[in-house]
């Protein structure tokens, strides 16, 4: 479904991503793990169109989307839940959700989809009229995911969904991500919490210093020495 080939990203003189190859099949959960600054978020940014790659190719569903603007990529069916959630603080929960589907669904369809989201995230139904900025971190994360799902994407990119959340909330969010796959969605997950990521992922790729250094099934990686020493503290 998604193929990233020899991706290179540069911010001025700094090379954030040297070479990343990645392939994601339909219905899979793929985890992209690695230390802070390894190039994970930049890779997601390039797929979503926020960052123009210096070299390489990104192909989604057989179409080359390299360097296309984010609005185009979104309309092809890729939704990014950005790091730090970035919900619209001055907009109500309802407005946040509506913008998520505004360009993808006709009005009646969007209404129905909004109801589905409110069923999926009952807490959002309770806070429907509340401004996004007044929600707690976990609630904001739910809103961010719901907002991305409003577009009925086929591929969802999740950037550090556990960041800054209370442990109980992390479990809820990850249960939810696992649930998304059951609904046929493909997930590309960037996560610093490697143990957690490997728990729900089918396959994973390890990034270090902007390069993909290791790839395999989640099980293989969880037992590999490199991963155990570097990320699982074993």
């Amino acid at each position: 479904m998604l193929a990233v080939e020899a991706l290179k990203i540069r911010y001025g003189e700094v090379e954030a991503v040297r070479r990343v190859d990645l392939s994601v099949g339909g219905g899979e959960i793929i985890a992209l793990v690695g230390a802070n600054g390894a190039g994970k978020s930049s890779t997601l940014g390039a797929i979503a169109g926020l960052v123009a790659p210096a070299a390489g190719r990104i192909v989604f569903d057989g179409t080359d989307i390299t360097g296309k603007p984010p609005e185009t990529i979104s309309r092809r069916g890729v939704s990014l839940v950005p790091e730090g959630r970035r919900i619209f603080a001055s907009l109500s929960v309802a407005e946040n959700l509506r913008l998520g589907g505004a360009m993808h669904l006709a009005a009646p369809e969007a209404k129905a989809r909004e109801q589905e989201m409110l069923d999926l995230f009952p807490i959002l139904r309770r806070y429907h009229r509340i401004k996004g900025g007044n929600l707690s971190g976990g609630e904001q994360q739910m809103l961010a995911i719901a907002r991305a799902l409003m577009a009925k994407p086929r591929l969802i990119l999740l950037d550090e969904p556990s960041l800054g959340l209370a442990p109980r909330m992390i479990d809820t969010v990850f249960d939810l991500i696992a649930g998304l796959r059951r609904n046929g969605l493909t997930v590309l997950l960037v996560e610093q919490n490697v143990a957690l990521a490997l728990e729900i992922a089918d396959r994973a790729t390890v990034l270090a210093n902007g390069e993909a250094v290791l790839a395999g099934t989640a099980k293989e990686l969880a037992t590999s020495d490199l991963v155990r020493q570097a990320y699982l503290g074993a």
Binding site: A48, L50, P70, F88, N96, R98
Partner: protein, 293 residues
């Protein structure tokens, strides 16, 4: 007396609010103070002159003039600012200065450096009595139009998808694009709205001044800029509050300052602005904007 001065202040403040709002909308989306905003007023003013000259009835001429202001704003974005997208704020600012100077020269050389008279319909120079005091039709129109425009804008921003997207874009433009909403649509709408507001303000301005001249946009845009800064740059409620505050201060000083101190009027107003900013550096109602690295 006092009631009349309050009407004067609201009438003037309303025009400032419309202009400041136009500046704030564009600033909130693209981070640019459009110094050519005043020339949008000039475009509208001359469009009114031309429409009347061509024999359009007055209401039609006003519609044409306001529409010209809006179109000019969109064209300005297309021609001058879109090619500069991604350039630094300084470059954009200089571009807006260049556009402003260019348009001034176009009107100065293309029409005349001399102000052109626009005779307002006679009903606009009338007055009506309300209880004890007489109220001019001019200030009344000015207040009604500004208030209606503010309400219409509020409804648009609250109820429509594009309006909601614009409020969202003011906070975090990238995420709006991630949701599939085209950047160019948001930016074009921002300029369109700012042009509409400038066109309306120009009509109120011309109604009060009965003439248009190539430099007519300079003073009001300067005032609007002050109002926008006082209110909190990029904050729409702030721009409205700043506009009305400036109107009140100006009318108050004009009404009460002794003649000997009159030359210092602008200095006093600007000192007041500095005082406000010392107490509230982000303005009266600061803009919500996500801090990003």
């Amino acid at each position: 007396m006092v009631a009349q001065q309050i009407i004067n202040a609201v009438s003037l403040g309303g025009v400032y609010a419309l202009l400041a709002l136009g500046l704030a909308i564009v600033f909130s989306i693209v981070g640019l103070i459009n110094f050519a905003h005043g020339e949008l007023m000039t475009v509208s003013g001359y469009a009114l002159l031309a429409s009347l000259f061509l024999g359009f009835p007055f209401p039609a001429a006003v519609l044409v003039a306001v529409a010209c202001g809006a179109l000019a704003a969109v064209a300005m974005e297309r021609v001058a600012f879109r090619p500069m997208r991604g350039a630094s704020i300084t470059s954009l600012l200089l571009t807006s200065f260049a556009v402003s100077s260019l348009l001034k020269v176009v009107f100065q050389n293309g029409v005349s450096a001399r102000p052109q008279a626009i005779a307002m319909p006679s009903w606009m120079t009338g007055a009506f009595s309300l209880g004890d005091f007489t109220i001019g039709v001019g200030p009344t129109i000015s207040i009604v139009v500004s208030v209606l425009a503010l309400i219409a804008l509020e409804v648009f921003l609250r109820r429509s998808v594009t309006g909601t997207a614009m409020r969202a874009a003011a906070e975090d433009f990238d995420v709006v694009r991630l949701l599939g909403i085209p950047a160019s649509r948001i930016i074009a709408t921002a300029f369109l709205l700012s042009g509409l507001l400038a066109g309306l303000a120009a009509m109120l301005w011309v109604a009060q001044r009965a003439s248009v001249d190539p430099l007519m946009g300079f003073t009001p845009v300067l005032k609007a800029f002050i109002a926008a800064v006082v209110g909190g740059l990029g904050s729409l409620p702030g721009a409205v509050a700043g506009g009305f505050l400036l109107g009140v201060i100006e009318v108050f000083l004009q009404a009460t300052l002794p003649a000997a101190a009159a030359p210092y009027r602008d200095a006093i107003v600007l000192s007041g602005v500095i005082a406000v900013l010392l107490v509230r550096p982000q303005g009266l109602i600061p803009a919500v904007r996500v801090q990003r690295s």
